[in-house]
C-alpha cells in the first residue's frame, strides 16, 4: 500500500492549493491558489518543494492520519492549535506523522488559514497546469471540491520526514493586523473626496460573510458619485469593490476574473497575507500609500522571502498549548510598523 494521508474530519473550506493557475483568466478561469501566499510558501518550502502543493485549512479545522507509511508534514499559517495525538505543537512546525497517529488542526487564537504540505507530492493530476482547487468551477485538487472525512490523498516521491518535531522559522509569516495599506483606484473617480476620506478614516470589521472569493466589510455605507455599475473590468487579488449597498467587498483568491462594480482601491501586495489571516469580527483600517511606497513594501517582502525558511529544534519539552501560544516561536516575524 502506498503512503497516503487520510482525512478523518474536515471543516468547510479545506482544499488542496498550489501557487495557482496562471494564464487562463482571459478565458474566465479563476487562478485560485492560497489565501495566505506567504504561509503557503513557508509550509511548502519547509517540506522541501516551494513549487509543491498543500492542504489549505480554514477555521473549520482538519484532522488527519496516514496509512501505508509515515509521511513528513510541514504546517504553517495563522496561530492555529496543532496537536499530534493530543500533544500541542507550535503553530509553524514540521513533523513526521506515523500510521495511526492523529494530527488535529483547530482554529487557535488568531489567523484564518493554515497550510499542511507533505514531504512528497500529491498523486493528483494538474488541471490547466495547476493543482489549485477552485470549487465553484469544480476544477483542480481532489475532484475540484473541498476535502471531507474519508478522503484519501496518496503521496508520491516521499522525502525523509523530520526525526522529531521541528519549528519552522520563516521570516515572511505574517500575523493578521488591523492596519492595511491600499493604493487608490482605478475607479476612485466614482467617489467623492469625502467618501474616500470616509473609507480611509473608518474602522471596518470583517463580516461573517467572507470566504475564499471575497471578504465583506461592515461599517458605514459608502456612497457612489455616479452609480454602482461600470462596464466590466479585470479583477485582481485585493481589489476593493463598492457594490450597490455601499459595503466594501475585497476580492480574494477565488475571485471571478472580471467584475462590474467600481473599485475604490486595492490592497497592496505586501499586505494581502496579513489581510487574508483576518477573521470575521476583526477590525481593519485602511491607509493610502503611493505606487512607489507599495512597490518598496513589495520589494522588502520579496527580500525577506528570499532569505529562506529554516527548521530549528524545539527547545521545551511537553509544554502546554497555552504556554506555546503565548510565545513567539517563529523567528523573524516583524511587526507591521517596521515595514513602513
Amino acid at each position: 500500500m502506498k503512503a497516503a494521508l487520510r482525512i478523518l474530519s474536515a471543516g468547510p473550506g479545506a482544499t488542496i492549493q498550489d501557487a495557482g493557475r496562471r494564464g487562463f483568466m482571459r478565458f474566465g478561469v479563476t487562478p485560485a491558489g492560497p489565501m495566505d501566499r506567504g504561509a503557503f510558501l513557508a509550509a511548502a518550502a519547509a517540506a522541501g518543494d516551494a513549487h509543491g502543493a498543500a492542504i489549505e485549512t480554514s477555521l473549520g479545522g482538519l484532522e488527519l492520519t496516514t496509512q501505508g507509511g509515515g509521511i513528513g508534514l510541514a504546517i504553517a499559517g495563522g496561530a492555529f492549535d496543532l496537536r499530534l495525538d493530543g500533544r500541542a505543537l507550535p503553530a509553524a512546525c514540521a513533523i513526521a506523522l506515523e500510521p495511526g497517529a492523529r494530527l488535529s488542526i483547530r482554529a487557535g487564537k488568531a489567523g484564518a488559514w493554515c497550510y499542511v504540505a507533505p514531504f512528497g507530492r500529491f498523486a493528483l493530476s494538474p488541471v490547466l497546469g495547476s493543482l489549485a482547487t477552485h470549487s465553484r468551477a469544480a476544477i483542480g485538487g481532489l475532484d475540484g471540491r473541498m476535502l471531507r472525512a474519508g478522503d484519501i490523498l496518496e503521496i508520491e516521491n516521499l522525502r525523509p520526514a523530520p526525526g522529531r518535531p521541528l519549528a519552522i522559522e520563516a521570516p515572511w509569516l505574517e500575523p493578521a493586523r488591523a492596519r492595511i495599506r491600499v493604493l487608490l483606484g482605478p475607479q476612485d473617480d466614482y467617489f467623492s473626496s469625502e467618501t474616500i476620506e470616509e473609507f480611509l478614516s473608518s474602522e471596518w470589521r470583517i463580516s461573517p460573510r467572507c470566504d475564499r472569493m471575497a471578504y465583506r466589510l461592515e461599517g458605514p455605507a459608502l456612497k457612489h458619485l455616479k452609480g454602482h455599475d461600470i462596464v466590466s473590468d479585470g479583477l485582481v487579488f485585493g481589489a476593493i469593490q463598492i457594490p450597490g449597498d455601499g459595503a466594501p467587498l475585497i476580492l480574494m483568491a477565488d475571485r471571478q476574473p472580471t467584475g462590474g462594480y467600481p473599485k475604490i482601491a486595492h490592497v497592496i501586495g505586501a499586505d494581502l497575507d496579513a489581510l487574508a489571516q483576518m477573521r470575521p469580527g476583526d477590525p481593519v483600517m485602511f491607509e493610502s500609500v503611493s505606487w512607489d511606497q507599495a512597490v518598496a513594501a513589495r520589494r522588502r517582502r520579496a527580500e525577506r522571502v528570499l532569505s529562506g525558511v529554516e527548521l530549528a529544534p524545539l527547545k521545551q519539552i511537553e509544554p502546554t498549548s497555552e504556554f506555546l501560544l503565548s510565545r513567539n516561536l517563529i523567528g523573524g516575524v516583524v511587526d507591521a510598523k517596521d515595514q513602513n
Binding site: 496562471r22 494564464g23 487562463f24 483568466m25 482571459r26 478565458f27 474566465g28 478561469v29 479563476t30 488541471v127 490547466l128 465553484r136 468551477a137 469544480a138 476544477i139 493604493l183 483606484g185 482605478p186 461600470i230 462596464v231 466590466s232 473590468d233 479585470g234 479583477l235 485582481v236 485585493g238 481589489a239 471571478q256 476574473p257 472580471t258 467584475g259 473599485k263 486595492h266 490592497v267 497592496i268 501586495g269 505606487w291 507599495a294 512597490v295 513589495r298 520589494r299 520579496a302
Partner: protein, 262 residues
C-alpha cells in the same frame, strides 16, 4: 464613449489597466484585443497575464522586474497604429450596447455558427422574458437568432462568453434578484447583452436558450473554441436535434461550425 487618449490606471502595484473607453463598442474592443495580441507576440519579461474586457486590457506584471513607466512606454509602442492617431476616428456612439450591426472582428476574428434550442422546455425563462418584452416566444427566438454577435470577452466563470450585438427590442434590464443556477450551455440575455454560460451559477440574466456546445473544455487547448474578437450567429435547432447534438458534444465533439468571413 471612446476616450481621445487611453487611460493608464493602477489596479494595485502589480496590475495596469489600459482603458480605451467606457462603452460596449466593437471598434473599442478591437483595439483592446489588438493590443493584447501585440503584447503576447512581444512577450516582454515581467508580464504575467492579460485580461481583455469590453473596453480595457488589464496587464498583470511584476513591478520588481518591469517598472510601471517602462510598461507604459512599451504598451504605447505596441499599440497598433499608435495610441493617439486612432482615437480621433474612434466611435462616439451612445454608452449603450450596439444594435444589430455587423459584428466587427479583430484581425484574426472567425465567424461561428452555434446551435441553440429556444424550446421553452429547455429555455427556462423565455416565456418570462418574452412577457417582459411584450413579444411572443417565437418572435424573441427569431430575433435573437437573427442577429450577429461579437465575442467581447470571457469572464465570471470558465468559458462564460459575453456577447454584444443584441437587437434593441430584446434589451431587458437584469433581474432585481438573481435566479437559481444556470443550466449547462445556457444562452442568456440581460442588461442589453447576451451571453453563453457553461457551469451552473446564479445569475440576474434570463435563460432564453440552450446550446449543446461545450463552450469550455479541458480537452481543448486553449480550452475555449471561440475567441474574443470572433463573431457568433445562433442556429435554431428543435429539442430533438438538441438532444442528439448534446450527446455528440458529450462524447467530445465540437459542434460550432466555423465560417469564412465574408
Amino acid at each position: 464613449m471612446t476616450y481621445p487618449q487611453p487611460r493608464f490606471l493602477d489596479a494595485g502595484e502589480a496590475a495596469l489597466v489600459v482603458e480605451f473607453g467606457d462603452s460596449v463598442d466593437p471598434a473599442l474592443n478591437a483595439r483592446v484585443l489588438c493590443l493584447e495580441a501585440a503584447l503576447q507576440n512581444a512577450a516582454p519579461r515581467g508580464i504575467e497575464e492579460t485580461i481583455p474586457t469590453y473596453r480595457s486590457l488589464m496587464v498583470l506584471y511584476d513591478p520588481l522586474v518591469v517598472s510601471r513607466a517602462e510598461l507604459v512606454s512599451m504598451l504605447k509602442t505596441l499599440a497598433p497604429g499608435g495610441f493617439s492617431s486612432k482615437a480621433e476616428t474612434g466611435s462616439h456612439e451612445e454608452d449603450t450596447p450596439e444594435p444589430n450591426r455587423r459584428a466587427e472582428t479583430s484581425p484574426k476574428g472567425a465567424c461561428w455558427r452555434l446551435p441553440c434550442c429556444y424550446d421553452p422546455e429547455l429555455a427556462e425563462d423565455i416565456a418570462l422574458a418574452a412577457q417582459k418584452l411584450d413579444l411572443t416566444c417565437e418572435r424573441l427566438a427569431a430575433t435573437h437568432a437573427g442577429a450577429d454577435y461579437r465575442v467581447y470577452m470571457y469572464g465570471f466563470a470558465p468559458g462564460w462568453c459575453y456577447l454584444g450585438g443584441l437587437p434593441r427590442e430584446l434589451a431587458l434590464p437584469r433581474r432585481a434578484a438573481p435566479r437559481g443556477p444556470t443550466p449547462q450551455g445556457a444562452v442568456l440575455i440581460g442588461g442589453g447583452l447576451s451571453l453563453v454560460a457553461t457551469n451552473p451559477m446564479p445569475t440576474g440574466w434570463y435563460v432564453i436558450g440552450r446550446t449543446p456546445e461545450r463552450m469550455f473544455s479541458l480537452e481543448r487547448d486553449p480550452p475555449t473554441l471561440i475567441q474574443p474578437g470572433d463573431a457568433i450567429r445562433f442556429e435554431p435547432v428543435d429539442i430533438h436535434a438538441f438532444r442528439a447534438l448534446d450527446a455528440r458534444a458529450a462524447s467530445g465533439e465540437s459542434l460550432a461550425r466555423r465560417e469564412e468571413t465574408p
